[in-house]
Point group: C2
C-alpha cells in the first residue's frame, strides 16, 4: 500500500483531491462526516503523507548529517547519544557516516549528504584531513556546519571543543605535582588539531615547571592512535628510556595498551611508572589498575554541537544573520590508581 | 546557492529547461558546446540535483533506517560498522536511531522512518518490546524489514541472529568440562528472545550433564543488563550461595561488573569462582583477569542483515517475490584467564 495517494482516496470516496487534502489537514470547510470517512479510509490504506512531496514544498528535510571518524570509540558513542537526544526533541533524524579516519571517505560522504539536502552537517574530522576545500563546499551551499572535537581552525563556522592544550597542561602539571620528573608523552599523529594541542600543553607544563623538554621522550602514534600503538611504544620506551617515571598518553586506548604491556612484563604501575590517559572511557574505570585520566565530556559536546546546529538551521530558515560560536567545554582530571 | 534550479541555469544561458536537464544527463541530442556551458554554470552555481524531486520521480530514498537499543555497547558499534560498510558499497545512507530499550521510542521511531519513506528498516528490538503491532505496520507498508540480534519470532520477515541457545549450551558445557559443578547464571530480563534462549541453553547443558538445575542460582538482571547488575548480583550471590564455583553471565558487561566486585573483595578468579561472559567486547581482552567469553560476531551480523535488506529492496523494486531468510551465524568460545 506504499503508493496510496490522495487520488486513490478521492476516487474511492467519489470526492475531489482537494477535499481529501483539506479533510486530512482538518480544514473547517469540510464536513465532519467527510473528514471521518477520509481519515478512516486513509488509515485503512496505510496512507502516510509523501515526505518527498512535503520536502519539495517546504525545502526542509528534517534530517541532519553526522560524520565521525570511528564508531568503535566510547567518546564518539557518547557524542552521538548527545546529538540524538537533541534531534529527538525536534523530531529530526540523523544520518550517521563513518570516515574511518580517511579524507577520501569524508569528501565522498559530504557529497552524499549535500545531494540528500540535509538541513545541516556535524563533523569531527578524520586524522588525515589537512585540506579543507570539502568543508568550504558545505558553506558555499549555505548549509549550516558545526565542527566538533577534531576541528579546522581556519574554517569559518561554529566549533565545539574542549581546550585540549589547557587540559593537557593541567594533566602534566598534576603529574609534576605528584612528584614525577621524567614524564614521557605518547602523542597522536601530526594532523589533528587536538593532538597538536595536547602535545603543546605537555611541553608548556614541563617548561613552566623548569623541567627541560626532551623530544626523545615523545613517541608518535599512527593515525589510529589505538591500543597497539600504546602497547608497542611502551615496549620500545622501557628499552630506550628506562629512566622515565610517568607516561602521559594522548587517549585512554593508548594508555590501556601501555598498561597491558606493563602488566605482562611486571612493571609496577604507578610505583615504577605512572600512566595517565585522556578521554575517560568506561573501560578505564574497570581495569586493573584503574586508569587516571582527563574527563572529556562527550555527551555534552554532542548536545552542544547539535543545539548550535539546530539554532543555525532556524536562523537560516528565518533569513536571520548567524553569528558563529566557538565553544570550549570544561574538562577535569579523574584520579584513580595508575598515578 | 541552495536554491539554484534548472530554471536559473536555463534562463542565464537562454536555453530551455529541457535542454539543461538533458545536458546534465549527457543526452546525445544536445551539442557538446551546450553541454559544456551547462555543466560549467551548474558547477559555478553549486547546482546539485534536488534529491526530493529525484526521489519523487524514482520513489526511492536511497536511505535505510536502523533502530538499535543502545549505542554505548561494543556489540552494536560493531553491528553498525558492518551495516555502514554494506550501505557504503551501494551509495545508501543510514539513519540511526536509539530506542534506549524503550518500546515507546521504538514505535515513534518507526513512524518517523515510515514518514521519511526509507527504502528499508533494520531493527534490534528493545528489551521492553513484547508486542509487535508496530512491526506489522512496517510490513503493511510493504517496506522491507530485517530483524537482527533481538528479534520477534512471530513477525514474518527475515532475521539474522546467532543461535543463542546453542551458544549458551556450549558455554556451560565448556565450564562443566573444566570441572565446575555449581554454576550460577546471571540472566537477562524476561522479554528479549536472546536472554530467554541463553537461559534455556544454560539449563539444558546442566540437565544433559546430570547436574540438577537449581532456580535459586539464577539471578535476573534488569532491562539494562549492565555493569551495575553484575556488580550488585555478585555481591548478593557470594552471600546467599557461597558454594558456587562459576558464573555464566548473559553479557560481558555484566561479567565485568562481577569481576570488579570480586577484585575488590579479593575473591580469586578463577581459583575460587570462574566467570564466563558473552559477546566478546574489546575491554574483556584487556582487563585483569582477561575474561573468557562467547564470541558474538557483531560485524558479520550487521553485514549480513544489511545485505539481506538490500536484496529485498531490489526484489521489491523489480516486483519479484521475496523469500524471507532466517540466518544463524556461528559463535565460538574464547578461553582466557577467568575460567
Amino acid at each position: 500500500m506504499n503508493n496510496t495517494t490522495l487520488k486513490q482516496i478521492a476516487s474511492q470516496l467519489g470526492i475531489s483531491i482537494t477535499t481529501v487534502s483539506k479533510a486530512l489537514k482538518g480544514y473547517s470547510d469540510v464536513s465532519e462526516k467527510t473528514k471521518k470517512a477520509v481519515i478512516e479510509l486513509a488509515n485503512k490504506l496505510n496512507y502516510t503523507p509523501n515526505s518527498f512531496a512535503v520536502n519539495l514544498r517546504t525545502k526542509e528535510s528534517k534530517t541532519i548529517g553526522l560524520i565521525i571518524p570511528t564508531l568503535v570509540h566510547d567518546f564518539f558513542s557518547n557524542v552521538i547519544q548527545g546529538i540524538l537526544e537533541e534531534a529527538e526533541k525536534r523530531d529530526y533524524l540523523v544520518i550517521i557516516l563513518q570516515s574511518n579516519e580517511k579524507l577520501e571517505f569524508e569528501k565522498k560522504q559530504i557529497d552524499l549528504l549535500l545531494n540528500k539536502r540535509v538541513d545541516g552537517i556535524l563533523i569531527s574530522l578524520s586524522n588525515e584531513t589537512g585540506e579543507f576545500e570539502h568543508l568550504q563546499t558545505i558553506l558555499s551551499h549555505n548549509t549550516p556546519l558545526v565542527l566538533f572535537d577534531k576541528i579546522a581552525k581556519l574554517v569559518n563556522c561554529s566549533k565545539v571543543t574542549i581546550n585540549d592544550r589547557k587540559a593537557a597542561y593541567d594533566a602534566v602539571s598534576y603529574l609534576i605535582k605528584k612528584g614525577y620528573k621524567k614524564i614521557a608523552h605518547f602523542r597522536g599523529s601530526y594532523l589533528p588539531q587536538n593532538s597538536i594541542d595536547r602535545f603543546l600543553g605537555y611541553k608548556k607544563a614541563l617548561e613552566d615547571n623548569n623541567i627541560i623538554y626532551d623530544s626523545s621522550l615523545v613517541y608518535v602514534c599512527d593515525t589510529n592512535m589505538d591500543f597497539e600503538n600504546g602497547y608497542e611504544n611502551a615496549k620500545k620506551i622501557v628499552n630506550e628510556h628506562p629512566e622515565i617515571d610517568a607516561i602521559f598518553a594522548v587517549t585512554d586506548l593508548v594508555a590501556v595498551g601501555i598498561i597491558k604491556y606493563f602488566n605482562e612484563v611486571g612493571i609496577a604501575i604507578p610505583q615504577k611508572i605512572a600512566v595517565l590517559g585522556f578521554s575517560n572511557w568506561f573501560m578505564s574505570s574497570v581495569m586493573s589498575p584503574k586508569l587516571s585520566t582527563v574527563d572529556q565530556p562527550g555527551f555534552e559536546i554532542g548536545r552542544k554541537s547539535a543545539s548550535i546546529l539546530f539554532d543555525e538551521i532556524n536562523l537560516k530558515k528565518n533569513n536571520s544573520p548567524v553569528i558563529f560560536q566557538s565553544i570550549e567545554l570544561e574538562t577535569s582530571i579523574i584520579e584513580r590508581d595508575s598515578t
